[in-house]
C-alpha cells in the first residue's frame, strides 16, 4: 500500500514536467473539441491522433492521448445539455434532464453540475485504480495461458450477458471481430489465413481502421440523416453560478456515491460508460425522493448519469493496465498505442515500466483537474464550434478520418476499408448490432486465440484444463453464467410471473 503511494508520488514527478503539462492541456482541449463534434469521439479521435505520437516518448504520448479521452468525456455533456444532441453515446442520459434545464435558462447550472459530477466520478475511479490496479496486476502475475483465456472468455461473455441488444446480434458482431482479427499471417504457424488470394490482406485488418470507420464515418452518416440544422441554447457560466451550484451538489452525495459504484463496476467489466449512465439514471430515478419529476430538469438527473459515465470511462483503464484487457473501445485504442510504442500491456507493465504506469495514473489525477478548469472556463467557445454548419464540418471530418486511416499503415486500401466500415457502422447502429464487442474482439482476437492455443497445447487438447483449478474454473463458470444470462433472466422472470397469480 505505502509502496504504491510512493510510486504514485514518483508518478507525479514524471507527469509534472512542463512538456507533459503542456501536452495535458492540449490533449484536454482537443478532447473536448472531439467530444463536441459529431462524428469524432474518444475512440476514433485517439485512433486518428495515434500516429502523430509515434515519435514521442511513450509516457508523454499516453498522457496526451488519455487527456484527449478525459476531454471527450467532458465534451459530450456540452452538446447534450445545450443542443439536446448527445455528442457521445454515454451522454444520451444527460439530455433527459440537462436539456430541459437549459430550456428553463439554467444551462449554466446544468453544465456546472455535469462537469463537477464528471470530475467526481472520474476521481473516484482514479483513486480506485491507484489502489486496486497494482493488486490485480500482482495477482495476475501468476496467470498462465488458461487463466488469461478464462478472463478473455469472461470479458466477451459479459457483453452478451449485460448488453441491451439481442444476444445473437451481439454474438454475430463479436465473432465478426474475431474473424477479422484472424485475417492475415497466423502468428503461430506463419500460414496466411482468410485472405482468399488477395495478398494485400496479409497485413490484416487493423482495428484502428475499424474504429475510425465504424464510429467516425458511421456517425457522420447517422447525423446526416437527421438533417443539418442544430439549434442550441446559449451558455453562460460565471463564477457565481458555479459556486451556487457547488453549494447544492453536496446534498446529492448518496446519488453520486451510488453512481460512482455503478460506473466503476460497469467500467471494469466491459459494460462501458453508456449502459452505466443509463443504469445510474434509472436507479437514481427509482431511489430519489424527486424521482417522479425526473425528466423535467432535475439537477440530480444530470448528476447521476454523468458521474457514472466518467467513473465507467475511467475505470475501463484498470483492466487495460493490469491485465492488458481493455474495458471499452477507447481503452482498446490506448492499448493499441502501448503495443505500437513497444510496451507489452499486462501485469508485467507494473514491474518493468514503473515510470510509464505511475506517470499515467498521476496524469489521470492532473488531467481531470485540468479538464474541469478548461471546460468551466471555455464552454461558450466550445459551444460555438457546434454552431459551425454541418456542411462545413462533415467534409472536414471525413478528410480527417481519411488521413487518420491512411497514417495507420500508409496504405491506400485502408481508406477504402474505412468507408466500408463506415457503411457497416451505419447499418449496425440502426439494426442494434453493437459495435463495442466487434472492436474489442478485433483487438484481442489474436491474443485470445494465442492463449487458447497455448492452453490446448499444455493440455493436449483437453478442454478440462479450463476447469483444472478453482481460479480458472471460477472465472469460466462466471463467464458461462454471463453467456446464458439472457436465458436465465427470462426463466427467472417467467418463474416470478407464474408465482404471482398463485
Amino acid at each position: 500500500m505505502f509502496e504504491d503511494i510512493n510510486a504514485l508520488f514518483h508518478g507525479f514527478s514524471v507527469a509534472l514536467t512542463p512538456f507533459n503539462l503542456l501536452l495535458m492541456f492540449i490533449g484536454v482541449t482537443l478532447g473536448v473539441i472531439i467530444g463536441v463534434l459529431p462524428g469524432l469521439g474518444g475512440a476514433n479521435g485517439i485512433a486518428i491522433l495515434l500516429p502523430l505520437t509515434f515519435s514521442m516518448p511513450p509516457t508523454s504520448a499516453i498522457i496526451m492521448l488519455s487527456c484527449i479521452y478525459w476531454g471527450a468525456l467532458f465534451g459530450g455533456a456540452i452538446t447534450s445539455i445545450l443542443f439536446n444532441i448527445p455528442g457521445e453515446p454515454w451522454s444520451v442520459a444527460t439530455t433527459f434532464d440537462g436539456y430541459p434545464m437549459a430550456q428553463q435558462g439554467r444551462a449554466g447550472e446544468a453544465l456546472t453540475a455535469s462537469f463537477t459530477s464528471s470530475f467526481v466520478g472520474a476521481f473516484f475511479a482514479v483513486v480506485m485504480i491507484t489502489f486496486l490496479a497494482p493488486l490485480v496486476a500482482r495477482f495476475a502475475l501468476q496467470f498462465g495461458p488458461p487463466e488469461f483465456f478464462s478472463v478473455y472468455f469472461l470479458t466477451f461473455c459479459s457483453f452478451i450477458g449485460m448488453g441491451k441488444e439481442p444476444p445473437f446480434k451481439i454474438m454475430a458482431s463479436m465473432m465478426l471481430g474475431f474473424a477479422l482479427a484472424a485475417v492475415g499471417i497466423d502468428t503461430v504457424t506463419g500460414q496466411p489465413r482468410l485472405i482468399f488470394g488477395w495478398f494485400e490482406l496479409l497485413r490484416g485488418f487493423d482495428f484502428l481502421i475499424a474504429v475510425i470507420g465504424l464510429f467516425g464515418i458511421g456517425e457522420i452518416l447517422l447525423s446526416m440523416e437527421e438533417g443539418l440544422s442544430f439549434s442550441g441554447k446559449s451558455a453562460k457560466i460565471d463564477p457565481k453560478i458555479v459556486l451556487e451550484t457547488w453549494k447544492k451538489l453536496p446534498q446529492y452525495w448518496l446519488t453520486s456515491l451510488r453512481s460512482c459504484l455503478i460506473g466503476c463496476w460497469l467500467g471494469i467489466t466491459p459494460g462501458g460508460a453508456t449502459p452505466a449512465s443509463f443504469m445510474s439514471y434509472g436507479v437514481a430515478k427509482r431511489m430519489s425522493k424527486n424521482g417522479a419529476k425526473f425528466g423535467t430538469g432535475q439537477l440530480e438527473g444530470v448528476v447521476a448519469p454523468e458521474t457514472a459515465a466518467h467513473a465507467a470511462g475511467t475505470s475501463a483503464l484498470l483492466p487495460m493496465l493490469a491485465l492488458g484487457i481493455p474495458g471499452s473501445p477507447t481503452a482498446a485504442v490506448l492499448l493499441g498505442g502501448l503495443l505500437i510504442w513497444g510496451l507489452q500491456p499486462g501485469p508485467l507493465l507494473f514491474i518493468e515500466q514503473k515510470d510509464f504506469v505511475w506517470g499515467l495514473i498521476a496524469s489521470m489525477y492532473l488531467g481531470n483537474i485540468a479538464g474541469l478548469v478548461i471546460v468551466l472556463t471555455c464552454v461558450p467557445l466550445f459551444a460555438a464550434i457546434l454552431r459551425v454548419p454541418f456542411s462545413i464540418i462533415a467534409p472536414v471530418i471525413i478528410v480527417i478520418c481519411a488521413i487518420g486511416a491512411y497514417t495507420v499503415h500508409n496504405a491506400m486500401l485502408d481508406i477504402w476499408f474505412m468507408l466500408l466500415f463506415g457503411v457497416a457502422g451505419y447499418a449496425f447502429k440502426k439494426l442494434a448490432y453493437p459495435l463495442a464487442p466487434l472492436v474489442l474482439a478485433l483487438v484481442l482476437g489474436d491474443r485470445a486465440e494465442d492463449s487458447f492455443r497455448q492452453s490446448m497445447l499444455i493440455a493436449q487438447g483437453d478442454m478440462r484444463i479450463f476447469f483444472s483449478n478453482w481460479l480458472v474454473g471460477g472465472v469460466m463458470a462466471l463467464g458461462l453464467v454471463m453467456l446464458f444470462w439472457p436465458v436465465v433472466s427470462k426463466l427467472l422472470v417467467s418463474l416470478r410471473a407464474s408465482k404471482t397469480p398463485a
Binding site: 474473424a179 467534409p395 491512411y406 463506415g422 487438447g461
Partner: protein
Amino acid sequence: MEEHKESTGISTRSVEILVALIFLLIGGMVVFDSFRLGASWGADGPQAGYFPFYVGLIICISSLVTLGQVLLGKVGRSGKIFVEWSQLKLVLSVLLPAAVYIVGIQLIGIYLASAVYIATFMIWLGNYSWFKSIALGVVVSVLGFLTFEVWFQVPLYKGVFDPLSFLGY
C-alpha cells in the same frame, strides 16, 4: 440490393434480412477457409484453422437465428422503416462524394483531393460562395500539409500522378 420499394422508404425487415445474409456469407467463408487450413489437431498442436473454424461456425449460427427471428416475424414485422427515401438521399449525398473523394486521393493525393472535396461539398450542399468554399478547402489542406509533412514528418499519400511533387516532399 436495396430496391424493396415502399411508399416511404426501405423497410427494416429487408435490411435485417440482407445484413443477416451477409453475416452468413462471411461466416461461411471463414468456415471454408479454416477447413482448407486444417481445423483439427495437427502433429504439433492445433492447426491454423482450429480457432477461426469455431468463430465462423458461431457467426453462421447466430446469423441463422437472427434470420429466423426476422422471417418468422419476431423482429421487425411491424413494417418499420429502416431509412426514409428523403433521409437516404441525404446519406447518399455524403456517402457517394466520399467514395469519389477516395478515388481522387488515389489519383491526385490526399492534399489536393481534400481541398477539392471540401470546396465542392460546401458549394454543392451548403450553398456557400465559391470564394469562401475554395478558401476553406485550401486552408484545411495547407494546415494538414504543415502538420503532417513539415512538423510531424509523417508522409501522406501523394497520388498516382503526384501533382504536388514540385514541393519536394
